[in-house]
């Protein structure tokens, strides 16, 4: 359909092989570590809910208590389930409360009591995963009944009032105007919180807190509007920041449909420790895979700090790495929403054709993934008229290059988080472009050896060269040197490193166990 971009197949193969080589050591690193958030996610799967009167979730209190007694390196499942049995209760939340009060002493169970605890933990976590499975089945049923959006790209809209109830109003309005996906942007502070806030919230800054209750409220509101409209409207949130694994888990439990989930975003843009991030993202992706959630990666962000032409190949490299990480974690092709963006300086001659070249490169390299195409942000200004026009050309590029998910740009990008009217105008813009240009891709045929073809192949070649350098010195080193988004992040720097532990030999995590076993079985089956 978007025919016509010819990439050197040898170069494509080489790129993938290098990406695999660069990612492997990091995957190994992730396999060998655990983090406080992974452990909390396990406990959430096992059924811990709620928060103390200060708003600190009981999972945090529980993991902190376990850690104080026995460290993190064995995983919390065994000590927690052993304590549960020892206390003679079967309510994990109650256990957490007692632990917080200091009345429990945790130990690593040994021998038979270890295998009893192990079975109990396995059972509890499996029940949690079954709840996620039910939500996934529910989603599939609803989509079957109500239907998917009538056409690609899917229209993705942001709400960001800070107040979940205003968000709901605006999300429903946006869906009625044609949005296929609603993303609730998070409050600026949340990614650095090492806990997930609780309950319905109304006081975020430039975004709304991601909480289990907010997920539930918004999903219910979108279910209502989905029924009204006769098409399933998807919900998006963020599995990033310090609580990636828990966010993924809560999203699975509340049937959130898509999650922003990048392997490097937290490192680069939130200064979170690289090992913490790589470890967390692996677990979170295993959950996403299970929950049938589509992930969206964050390559667009690099182009807000680095130049979109100079750094175009870093986007490609990151996409290739995200691909390896996603596949290893078990995500299916339809779940891998790699990101890229329309961020070239509009003053640059032929900027629109360069955008087309970059967008076609991604489309051609990843033909089966639901690519997410992000609108101009960096070069947006207070000139809202110019902004509205740029967004129109962004929409056109999305159409011409067959992008899957179109994040709708706002004319007020440089000014405010979007108003109700901004969103309405933005959707009108999208509708005009998709409707008026319809099958225009039919007439768009980058000339062989023309400008667009040449540019796409050049970016690919630069990506391969960069991957070679990364393979030589390691991905962590590359990140430390500012390869992505010009942000320099050393492996031992950043927040959250104190929440990381190297797994001990007896480390036990029932969630990983189940997920990896089932994935392996599935893969075997596929290969037979």
């Amino acid at each position: 359909m978007t025919g016509g971009l010819t990439l050197d197949p040898a170069l494509v193969r080489r790129a993938r092989q290098l990406a695999d080589q660069a990612a492997r050591p990091v995957i190994e690193l992730a396999r060998r570590h655990t983090t406080v958030s992974i452990e909390r996610a396990v406990l959430r799967l096992a059924g811990v809910t709620g928060a103390d009167p200060d708003g600190i979730p009981w999972v945090n209190r529980l993991v902190d208590a376990v850690r104080a007694d026995v460290g993190l390196e064995h995983g919390v499942a065994l000590p927690v389930f052993a304590a549960l049995r020892a206390e003679g209760i079967n309510d994990l939340t109650l256990l957490a409360q007692k632990a917080a009060a200091g009345s429990i002493h945790f130990q690593i169970p040994q021998g038979r009591s270890a295998s009893v605890a192990r079975r109990a933990a396995h059972r509890a976590v499996a029940a949690g995963l079954r709840r996620i499975d039910r939500r996934r089945a529910e989603r599939e049923r609803l989509i079957q009944r109500l239907g998917d959006p009538p056409r690609r790209p899917w229209i993705y809209l942001i709400v960001a009032t800070g107040d979940i109830y205003e968000d709901i109003e605006q999300a429903q309005a946006a869906a009625r105007e044609g949005a296929d996906i609603i993303a609730v942007i998070r409050s600026t502070g949340q990614s650095l919180l090492d806990y997930v806030p609780e309950g319905a919230t109304r006081e975020g800054y430039a975004g709304t807190y991601a909480t289990q209750e907010n997920f539930r409220l918004m999903r219910a509101a979108l279910d209502r509007v989905s029924r009204e409209l006769g098409r399933y409207v998807r919900l998006t949130n963020y599995a990033s920041g310090l609580c990636m694994p828990e966010m993924a888990t809560l999203a699975g439990l509340e049937r959130v449909d898509m999650m922003l989930n990048d392997s490097m975003y937290g490192i680069l843009f939130r200064d979170i420790n690289p090992i913490r991030t790589f470890t967390d993202q692996r677990f979170s992706r295993q959950i996403h895979a299970r929950a049938g959630i589509i992930i969206n990666t964050g390559e667009d962000n690099y182009l807000t700090t680095a130049d979109a032409v100079e750094a175009a190949h870093t986007v490609t490299v990151s996409q290739l790495l995200n691909e390896v990480f996603a596949q290893e974690a078990g995500l299916a092709d339809w779940q891998i929403g790699l990101g890229h963006a329309f961020e070239i300086d509009p003053e640059l001659p032929d900027s629109f054709r360069l955008e087309l070249a970059h967008a076609l490169l991604a489309r051609t390299l990843f033909p089966r993934y639901p690519l997410k195409w992000m609108p101009p942000t960096r070069h947006m200004t207070g000139d809202i008229f110019r902004g509205y026009l740029l967004n129109g050309f962004f929409n056109l590029a999305g159409l011409l290059t067959g992008q899957s998910i179109l994040l709708v740009g706002m004319m007020t990008e440089a000014v405010i988080t979007p108003w109700l009217s901004d969103r309405d105008l933005a959707l009108q813009n999208v509708r005009y472009v998709l409707n008026a240009c319809g099958g225009l891709a039919e007439d768009f045929a980058p000339r062989p050896d023309g400008f667009i073809q040449r540019r796409a192949n050049q970016v690919l070649a630069e990506a391969v060269a960069l991957l070679e350098r990364i393979c030589d010195h390691g991905l962590l080193q590359a990140i430390a040197e500012g390869t992505f988004g010009i942000m320099k992040r050393p492996p031992d720097g950043g927040r959250g490193l104190d929440g990381v532990a190297v797994q001990a030999d007896d480390y036990y995590n029932p969630a990983t166990e189940i997920l990896e076993q089932e994935l392996a079985a599935e893969r075997e089956e596929r290969h037979e």
């Binding site: 605006q170 207070g382 809202i384 000014v415 405010i416």
Partner: protein
């Protein structure tokens, strides 16, 4: 819903608005200060100049966002709410037959130097507008459409000759308030030419009129943007049964 409301950006009561304008001041900090002064006088506080651009050496263009402090009181909103029922063509015809016992004569024109006939044609021609048939379709109306650029004296003459019950004038060009001048001139001319009791109904329309200005301009009714033929026909039926009830029957025959 409360009767006192404010503009809505993304939160109830936030009062947010967007504004743009040009000031005859060279671009720079002083110009931005001037823009903020104006925004302040308009009741925007705080105001942010989010964009300013020189238009040549003498002018600066601004985009301003901010919170307007005024409240809107819905109870005080002046709307020329439709004070007559919307009728079907059949019903309109029936009213005319019953009240006039002859055809209602409508004379239409774009007056002055205005040549934008699409609007008045939308109301008068059979083809109509927005899926509704125009007045020519109404069996009990006789429509005389004079077209574009009709001088007021010619319109008065023709209205007299046709024994018009209603004169429908269109005005689309508004630069230097041309539409207001022309309508005032027309109203004066008809008042001069006809005794009050025999003056045809004066109806004007066009996309930039404020519908509440009829009295001020000396006409019976104003129709704005997006008017449909049904609204006009219904109004005419209503007007001849009320105000026009006082006109001697057959006056126009």
């Amino acid at each position: 819903m409360s009767d006192i409301i404010r503009p809505y950006g993304d939160t109830t009561g936030d009062g947010m608005v967007q504004l743009s304008f040009t000031l005859p001041v060279p671009h720079g900090k002083r110009a931005e200060g001037a823009a903020l002064q104006l925004a302040g006088k308009m009741g925007i506080d705080p105001a942010m100049v989010v964009h300013s651009k020189p238009l040549g050496p003498k002018f600066t263009f601004f985009v301003v966002y901010g919170r307007v402090q005024h409240l809107v009181d819905l109870r005080e909103v002046q709307v020329p709410e439709r004070d007559y029922p919307l009728l079907t063509p059949k019903e309109v015809n029936a009213v005319i037959r019953r009240r006039l016992r002859r055809k209602l004569v409508v004379v239409g024109a774009c007056i002055g130097t205005d040549a934008h006939t699409v609007g008045i044609d939308a109301i008068l021609n059979i083809k109509g507008y927005a899926g509704e048939k125009g007045l020519e379709y109404y069996r009990e109306m006789r429509v005389v459409n004079l077209g574009a650029q009709v001088a007021v004296p010619d319109l008065v003459e023709r209205a007299r000759a046709e024994r018009a019950d209603a004169v429908l004038a269109s005005q689309v060009v508004t630069q230097r308030d041309a539409h207001l001048h022309n309508v005032r001139e027309m109203a004066a001319a008809f008042r001069e030419a006809f005794p009050a009791s025999r003056r045809p109904l004066l109806v004007v329309g066009g996309p930039r009129f404020d519908e509440s200005m009829a009295a001020e301009l000396g006409v019976d009714r104003i129709f704005g943007r997006g008017t449909t033929p049904t609204e006009v026909a219904s109004y005419l039926a209503h007007a001849i049964t009320t105000k026009r009830g006082s006109v001697p029957e057959g006056a126009g025959v």
